[in-house]
């Protein structure tokens, strides 16, 4: 069955990522460019693809480095690819890699490209730290000064407080609310208990640990050669805790509301460094090159809500829209991957999809569907594995496509919430 509305059918041929590491740990000295290039090149190697087949490179990144504003171009300049391959980087917050993948799919569906490398990267160990606005202005003035005297005069206006560096905000520009505060608000308004959040976090760790142990997760990771001698092998994600428990999670203090809060470091995704890449092809091209696609992209949708409301509720609109575009119902889904920014957000999304009351509130004709946890986030999620903002979408597509093949599932769904009140949803299919 194929009634995709995308034009040419888009195959997901393979996906691969670097290990995901908590920011400031083992990948702290590695640039985002190096991570992205590693994931991309190893993907080419493992899929035995001649890099000259690639027509375009699209990468997502939320906090680009000042020196490398277009990380995708650095990926496309890998010597294995033709230098004539165009590339761009994009930012749809935490759904950036998913956006890179759907943009790639558009290009393929339109016939503009046959083979596209799409993915994302984030290095929060390598974020730009800015000078204060006033100090920047002083520096610019001093730089333009014609004489040494003029330069000194400009610099002399510097005050100690001007030298305090400015780090990029994690707060919503429109509301001033941080992501964690938003999750906290959602927990309270939607009645998500601390225990329910910790239980989801525990499930995330247990499942990720199991999928690492049985090799399903490791198979999606290209080991990183760390250390000065490149002989310290980083083969797995360092956020996964196989030994955690409800008790241990229960010990953690809430971070954003110390008194009445329930969002802790244990039931939220950590700041993470990592990159992920996915190889997409037109179906006929994949077949011509001898590949057996893991899955096909059936549909996608992006939606947004008012950030001043419940910030991370974008998926409640995006998912039904993607399902409608796919022409399938929630019940047709064999596997679901929900990005776990916060357990409170996941459980709020799940609650909203599941009830008539929410459907009425959201203006939907009826409930979207009831989440079956046996078929959802079966290899763990971002809380355990980590969440490099720009890369997560590509990790989810890779994991879902691989698991759909292993379980021989026909339809799978990915749901991602993103900063700015946005939500992104993708439907994958297999024949």
């Amino acid at each position: 069955m194929h009634d995709s509305r995308l034009g040419r059918r888009v195959a997901i041929v393979a996906g691969l990522r670097t290990p995901f590491a908590k920011s400031g740990t083992v990948l702290r000295d590695v640039s985002a460019t190096a991570l992205a290039r590693h994931a991309a090149r190893e993907l080419l190697v493992r899929s035995e693809l001649d890099g000259r087949e690639i027509d375009e490179v699209i990468f997502g990144q939320v906090v680009p480095s000042v020196r490398v504003p277009n990380v995708a171009r650095e990926v496309s300049l890998l010597p294995q690819l033709l230098p004539s391959v165009p590339a761009y980087s994009l930012n749809r917050a935490c759904a950036s890699a998913a956006q890179a993948i759907t943009n790639a799919a558009d290009q393929i569906a339109l016939g503009h490209a046959d083979v596209v490398l799409a993915g994302g990267v984030e290095s929060l160990s390598d974020i730009p730290v800015l000078h204060s606005r006033r100090f920047s202005q002083i520096l610019v003035e001093a730089g333009k000064a014609k004489s040494v005297g003029g330069r000194l005069a400009a610099l002399a206006r510097t005050r100690p407080r001007d030298l305090v560096p400015v780090t990029p905000a994690v707060a919503e520009p429109s509301t001033g609310e941080t992501m964690g505060q938003s999750a906290e608000k959602m927990a309270k308004e939607n009645g998500i208990t601390r225990e329910a959040q910790d239980r989801l976090a525990l499930q995330s760790h247990e499942r990720a640990a199991a999928a690492t142990a049985d090799g399903r997760l490791s198979a999606e990771i290209a080991p990183w050669f760390g250390g000065r001698g490149m002989d310290e092998i980083i083969a797995g994600d360092n956020g996964i805790r196989s030994d955690t428990s409800l008790e241990a999670l229960g010990q953690l203090r809430p971070v954003f509301d110390r008194r009445y809060g329930s969002v802790t470091a244990g039931n939220a995704s950590p700041l993470t460094d990592g990159a992920a890449a996915v190889l997409l092809m037109a179906e006929d091209k994949a077949i011509a090159l001898g590949y057996e696609p893991l899955a096909f992209l059936r549909s996608y949708a992006v939606a947004a809500v008012d950030p001043g409301w419940q910030l991370l509720m974008g998926p409640v609109y995006a998912v039904p829209r993607a399902l409608e575009r796919a022409g399938i119902a929630w019940g047709d889904l064999g596997l679901v991957e929900i990005h776990e920014a916060f357990a409170a957000q996941v459980l709020s999304n799940v609650q909203a999809w599941g009830s008539q009351a929410w459907a009425d509130r959201l203006g939907l004709p009826g409930p979207v569907g009831e989440v079956d946890w046996e078929r959802t986030n079966v290899m763990g999620g971002s809380i355990a594995i980590g969440h490099p903002f720009g890369a997560t979408g590509a990790r989810l597509v890779t994991t879902l496509a691989n698991e759909m093949r292993r379980r021989d599932v026909q339809f799978g769904l990915i749901s991602i919430c993103a900063q700015g009140g946005m939500g992104s949803a993708l439907v994958l299919e297999r024949d």
Partner: protein, 709 residues
């Protein structure tokens, strides 16, 4: 056909040198005649006010003199005349009343640079292919067209001697720093810049060049006392580097000294006299022969011409990420720019291998041979893993795993399962017959040996070893790829030890036997370095590794019987845990990786007392004849295709003294009769291991030689 094309634009004559039918410009007699005529035309043509000399060849200005013409020189006076005429021609450029500008892109070497030095202004490009140098000493000669005079006057005695005595060339940026060129520009504006400069010289007169040296330079280069120090330091350096075997550097130093101290006329006279003597001297003759042998090998694909077309190598697989494997990968990436995948069973070893391979690139970056962007690009071509993923598209796979037949067979089977049918498999074994490795191969026609020497990026030789089954296409592909890696390639037979290790085997054995007889290690090594080897045989054993040498010795013993039986010496040292340099314990002691004298504790370990009055003549005779005889035998058996290949292999594979031309050339020079006599004497005293090669006996009987006289 004319080599020099001239167009005149606005009074500037642009002379384009483009030697017909040649890839590079060379200064031959015919070119000189044409050039002299052109100089007269420029002098007499009132429409010409200045000239620019530029090359019509891509990436080559003038590569130097036509060396073929040197070989035709039979007398010292003829050679001296050649130099004198060169000096005269160059002088005429310098004394021309109209300014001449050299526009230099690509190789500007030897006579090419001497000509450029006589020009009134030099513009060079910043392209890496632009290299300026006076490599004459590398052919046992000295710059004979005024180079020994003009270079020190332009850039100072110290910098000039550094270039002339080592023969090394400099890139454009360094040349600008030295004051060797006046301007450095991108190739795109070379011609326009040179033409503009010529116009400026006409208008404003010749430039005054300020010395580029600081206070130290002022004292050293510009005072007689300072220069005396410079000459003495240079002489010491030359003697330390090449001993007394190579006369050219000292003669060049003399020509520079006389020129600076007694004036240019005396200098030029000293220069052409020395050139004349050297050009017909034995050392230069040998070095020129080696030059031509190497040049001929560069065109020799190891198969009859046209028999097969080399495959393009777009992707290289290397199995085994140890020192050799990483060296092969790094050198391939650095020189061939080929996408390379390393495979080893252990990921940490893979990581170390990638680090070592990219280390070769890092070294080039440090030496400014490549730029930072080039380094980044090339580094990204090296990757690795612990399985054969990434090998499916490999065009060539080289294995450099441990020397073990079963392991190598298993690797071959694994690779055959992972690659396409066309992929060529090369084993970097040093001792195991390739046909044994290929015994169970599915595609034996794609299997051969590529024997690199360690360290791969530095050692210039590669032995390519086909079996009887190897397809011509595989041979030519391996030869061409090795050459692109920067190696001189000889195709050798699949005999035990191939060529280099074969002729090394009795030589190293003999050294060990000498030790067991009580000859001190330093006496052995000193004798052979004085004979011209860069390191002595015992030091070489330490470098190779005693375990490796022992293993190779066993293979040779098994193949050739008692003649190549290794003495007990190595086994006893190995039993004492001595592996040579790699574990800091061998015949020598090592401190922080530096050799620190002979380890005297080896003598009691071997149960011997070193003799104090060893006869170095006997030591030399035994060691040299062990190798010469083996070379003759191996050539008899067809281990190499020709004496030329054998000699080049010995020069580049084991540092056989270049001024001797190689073992087979040495036999010709000593005469087969004397070599045979010496071997028979040695056989009488030391037994059948010195039994002479058949061809030596025949050479004496029939009066034949390895090379035509």
């Amino acid at each position: 056909m004319s080599a020099l094309g001239t167009t005149v634009e606005d009074g500037i004559a642009v002379v384009t040198f483009d030697l017909p039918g040649e890839p590079v410009n060379k200064l031959s007699d015919a070119v000189k005649v044409e050039f002299e005529a052109l100089l007269i035309r420029i002098r007499d043509d009132e429409g010409i006010r200045a000239a620019v000399l530029i090359s019509g060849k891509p990436d080559s200005f003038i590569a130097g003199a036509d060396i073929e013409e040197f070989t035709a020189l039979t007398t010292e006076s003829a050679a001296e005349r050649l130099s004198f005429e060169g000096q005269e021609m160059v002088n005429r450029v310098e004394t021309l009343a109209k300014p001449v500008v050299a526009a230099i892109h690509g190789a500007c070497l030897g006579g090419g640079l001497e000509l450029a030095l006589a020009c009134h202004y030099r513009v060079a490009t910043d392209h890496p292919k632009t290299q300026l140098g006076l490599p004459e000493v590398q052919l046992g000669l000295i710059p004979g067209a005024g180079g020994c005079q003009r270079l020190p006057r332009l850039i100072g005695a110290r910098a000039a001697l550094e270039m002339i005595l080592t023969g090394k060339s400099e890139r454009g940026a360094k040349a600008l720093r030295l004051g060797l060129v006046d301007e450095l520009v991108p190739p795109s504006i070379l011609r326009a810049t040179a033409v503009a400069a010529a116009g400026r010289l006409v208008r404003d007169g010749l430039p005054r060049r300020a010395p580029k040296t600081g206070l130290q330079g002022l004292l050293l280069d510009r005072t007689a006392a300072g220069r005396r120090l410079v000459y003495r330091a240079a002489e010491k350096k030359v003697l330390a580097k090449s001993g007394s075997h190579y006369p050219a550097p000292l003669r060049a130093l003399e020509a520079v000294r006389i020129g600076l101290e007694q004036g240019i006329t005396a200098g030029l006279a000293a220069e052409h006299r020395a050139f004349g003597e050297l050009a017909v001297g034995e050392v230069s003759r040998k070095l020129v022969q080696v030059f031509f042998a190497t040049a001929a090998l560069k065109k020799d694909d190891g198969i009859p011409p046209g028999m097969a077309v080399p495959r393009q190598i777009r992707r290289l697989g290397v199995v085994g990420a140890g020192f050799m494997g990483a060296g092969i990968a790094g050198t391939a990436v650095a020189n061939v720019e080929v996408d390379t995948r390393l495979k080893d069973a252990d990921l940490a070893r893979v990581g170390k291998g990638i680090k070592a391979a990219t280390g070769i690139l890092a070294e080039r970056l440090k030496r400014r041979r490549i730029t930072r962007p080039q380094f980044e690009r090339l580094s990204a071509m090296v990757s690795g893993g612990d399985d054969y993923r990434g090998f499916a598209r490999a065009d060539l796979v080289i294995e450099a795993v441990f020397e073990d037949l079963d392991l190598k067979r298993r690797v071959l089977a694994e690779v055959e399962a992972a690659v396409r049918p066309e992929t060529i498999f090369a084993s970097n074994t040093s001792t195991i017959p390739i046909r044994d490795i290929a015994a169970h191969a599915i595609r034996p026609e794609r299997v051969l040996g590529m024997h690199f020497f360690s360290p791969v990026e530095k050692m210039p030789l590669l032995e390519v070893i086909p079996t009887d089954d190897t397809a011509a296409e595989a041979i030519v592909t391996a030869v061409r790829f090795g050459r692109r890696m920067g190696k001189t390639v000889i195709v050798v037979a699949d005999h035990p030890g191939f060529w280099v290790n074969r002729i090394l085997s009795p030589y190293l054995n003999e050294a060990a036997i000498l030790i067991s007889e009580g000859v001190p290690v330093e006496v052995i090594d000193r004798t052979m370095t004085q004979w011209g080897f860069p390191v002595g045989p015992v030091a070489l054993l330490d470098e190779v590794g005693l375990d490796v040498a022992q293993k190779a010795g066993g293979v040779m013993h098994a193949a050739f019987g008692d003649r190549l039986q290794p003495p007990e010496t190595l086994a006893r040292l190995l039993a004492d845990g001595r592996l040579g340099r790699k574990n800091g314990r061998g015949f020598y002691r090592y401190h922080d990786g530096h050799k620190a004298g002979v380890d005297d504790t080896i003598y009691p370990l071997l149960g011997i007392r070193p003799v104090e009055d060893a006869d170095t003549g006997v030591v030399e005779r035994r060691l040299v004849h062990a190798m010469l005889n083996e070379a003759a035998m191996a050539l008899d058996e067809g281990a190499v295709r020709s004496a030329r290949d054998g000699d080049v292999g010995a020069l580049f594979g084991i540092g056989f003294p270049a001024f001797r031309g190689g073992p087979l050339r040495t036999i010709d020079d000593l005469t087969a009769t004397r070599v045979l006599e010496a071997l028979r004497d040695l056989e009488d005293v030391h037994g059948p291991r010195f039994a002479p090669a058949v061809s030596l006996v025949e050479a004496v009987t029939h009066g034949t030689r390895y090379y035509p006289a």
